[in-house]
Amino acid sequence: MDDLKRVIREYVIREYMEEGESVDVNTPLITGGIVDSFSMVSLKRFLERRYSIQIPDAEATPAAFDSVNNIAALVTRVRARTVPGI
């Protein structure tokens, strides 16, 4: 697992799950009820701070946040536009 996915996964586990619970990179987060549309706001805010990016609201969809893999892809996409060479 690369560093980006590890950071996202650890944040999701720490903030949105009970002790002893876990997710893998494909676990449905929104569909599975782990992160709802309200909590998505704090997760988005975390990603924006951590990676110094602005995720456009139009791209912050439930589908884009539905797994660690999807979130990592979103962050990578936005960073590529923001930071040349990434």
Binding site: I30, T31, G33, S37, F38, S42, P62
Partner: protein, 570 residues
């Protein structure tokens, strides 16, 4: 936009000949006799010959599926009732259902009512302080939960002296602690016979907590006679027909999820489908297509999320089974009504009601011309108006803004707030129940929502009280003072915004903002989490030092701030 209904009595015909005894007769209820919601939603449907029909078709996000007939629901609710009796739960005790939308929630709700308990459903996304507040206020003796939520209960249990039993429905292989009990519904004895407790019209049935401007949430106390309203409004407003497959998006932790997610459909013998899944447009459409859903009761927030995904997503699925669409929670904007006509070939019918009303009270009645953006007209038998906010006199001229007021007396009006009769009495002025929602009435008698008349925040169709949020904000060590108000949001209508005054020496910043947001979410719920925080150096206050939220709210909505003569000068 108009619809023509040729097969049913019109709104005017229903209204002219209306009496609640219509529902009493159809339900076989004799005034003064027994009435039990649990029995009417299961045993009675079986006695009417529908025992082998599907009552519940349930799916989760993984695609796991279970199907229950009305006879299954009857027997399994018997099992639930008997289990509670074995635990020693007595009639009148509050039994909390703290569960995701799993079958045990629906069956357990009826089982509690059948043994004479008071069902107290709570939204399973509540965090521990929200849970504690509601269990403590109700003096709840038993909570039924599942292992994923058990840690929240364990963390607050020592502060809940009345809580005797913690029942965990999926605890096989899960280490239990003292006072916890496993209840595996599929392994319980399946009693064919159960002596339903002899509840009558005024016997308490359901306790739903709802937020107000001041103080902690209040327990809205319903009685078994509410069935009369819930049965008939479901039948007429949701336009039920034999053979319908009905989907209500609401979670039974909120009143829509019990009045129209359990009682309404099942007392009518209607099959309902439940999807225990977070939002996913494709998954939702696939669900409608798979189960041939005919009647869909949704919410503006969900509809606006579907709109964001576009009509093309809807068109990938066969949604032709949909016959009637309705919506509740917050006002349905005209764009959403128009969009649903484009996406589904029919409009959503907006409805208006509250936890306290127990049933739909204002509605776009099937067959009645829809005015997009209007909540419709009063349900037959409901006397509704708007009143002046000071005199509480009805405003008779069309177009004047007042507070929606209802003449008390319909069957599902709550009978009190739990342990708070003063709070209940304060809801009535000049002989009217005052809803707290501002509206206008047009010349055709249609109601148009304007806004709340208080500081309560309606986010995604759920009411959140500012006091509870501000109390949680103050738990953060950096916060000296705070005010929580509504701010406009394109999807949720309103979301929470907090104005925070930091303690001396603390520097504001984005990291602190996120930390405070997460503090509220972890203590209360995601709903209550401020979606943004403004760090300020002062808050508007009266001369007596009370924070004036209405000024902050007005600024957020770009409205006039009103009278500021009583404010403290800076």
């Amino acid at each position: 936009m108009t619809e023509t209904c040729v097969t049913r009595p019109s709104y005017h015909e229903r209204t002219a000949a209306f009496d609640w005894s219509i529902a009493e007769r159809e339900l076989g209820y004799l005034p003064g006799g027994p009435i039990n919601i649990g029995w009417h939603c299961s045993d009675r449907i079986c006695l009417l010959g529908r025992g082998r029909h599907h009552a519940l078709v349930w799916e989760d996000f993984r695609g796991t599926s279970r199907t229950y007939t009305f006879d299954d629901v009857r027997v399994l609710s018997n099992a639930f009732g008997r289990f509670l009796q074995r635990l020693g739960v007595q009639p009148g005790e509050r039994v909390c259902l703290f569960l995701d939308r799993i079958p045990e929630l629906y069956v357990g709700f009826l089982g509690i009512l059948k043994m004479g308990g008071i069902a107290q459903p709570l939204f399973s996304a509540f965090a521990e302080e929200s849970l504690w507040t509601r269990l403590h206020d109700a003096g709840t003796g038993t909570i039924i939960t599942q292992r994923k939520h058990a840690p929240k209960v364990r963390r607050i249990r020592a502060r809940l002296p009345a809580l005797r039993h913690v029942v965990i429905v999926d605890a096989e292989g899960y280490p239990l602690q003292a006072g916890e009990t496993l209840m595996a519904l599929d392994r319980e004895p399946r009693p064919q016979r159960f002596d339903v407790f002899a509840t009558t019209a005024e016997t308490p049935s359901v306790l739903h907590y709802t937020s107000g401007t001041t103080g902690q949430p209040k327990g809205a106390q319903h009685v078994h006679y509410s069935l009369v309203s819930q049965y008939l409004t479901a039948k007429w407003v949701l336009d039920f027909e034999p053979g319908d497959v009905y989907w209500c998006n609401a979670d039974p932790g909120w009143v829509t999820g019990t009045s129209y997610g359990i009682i309404g459909p099942w007392s009518n013998g209607i099959t309902q489908v439940v999807l225990d899944s977070g939002f996913n447009a494709g998954r939702w459409y696939e669900f409608i297509q798979k189960h041939r859903v005919t009647v869909w009761y949704s919410a503006p927030t969900a509809i606006r999320l579907l709109m964001r995904e576009g009509v093309d997503v809807a068109r990938r699925f066969d949604l032709s089974s949909l016959r009637h669409l309705a919506s509740v929670g917050e006002p349905l904007n005209p764009e959403a009504v128009g969009w649903s006509s484009e996406a589904f070939g029919r409009p959503f019918h907006d409805t208006f009601w509250q936890t306290e009303t127990g049933c739909i009270v204002i509605t776009n009645f099937p067959g009645m011309p829809i005015k997009p953006g209007s909540m419709g007209r009063p349900f037959p038998g409901i006397t509704a108006t708007v009143v002046d906010t000071h005199t509480f006199q009805p405003l008779v001229e069309p177009g004047r803004v007042g507070v929606i007021a209802l003449k008390p007396g319909w069957p599902s009006m709550i009978r009190s707030y739990w342990g708070n009769p003063q709070g209940y009495a304060a809801k009535f002025k000049n002989g009217w129940y005052i809803s707290g929602d501002r509206a206008t009435i047009d010349a055709d008698g249609y109601f148009w929502f304007v806004g709340r008349d208080d500081d309560v925040i309606n986010t995604g169709g759920h009411l959140v009280g500012p006091f509870e949020i501000e109390s949680a904000l103050l738990e953060h060590p950096a916060v000296a003072e705070s005010a929580a108000v509504a701010t406009p949001d394109p999807v949720n209508m309103e979301v929470v915004k907090a104005f925070v005054l930091l303690k001396p020496g603390v520097q504001p910043g984005p990291d602190l903002e996120l930390e405070i947001m997460n503090t509220v979410r972890r203590r209360l719920s995601p709903l209550a989490m401020p979606q943004s925080i403004a760090f300020v150096t002062s808050l508007p206050k009266t001369r007596s030092g009370k924070i004036v939220r209405r000024i902050l709210r007005a600024q957020e909505f770009g409205e006039p701030v009103g009278d500021v003569s009583t404010l403290m000068e800076e």
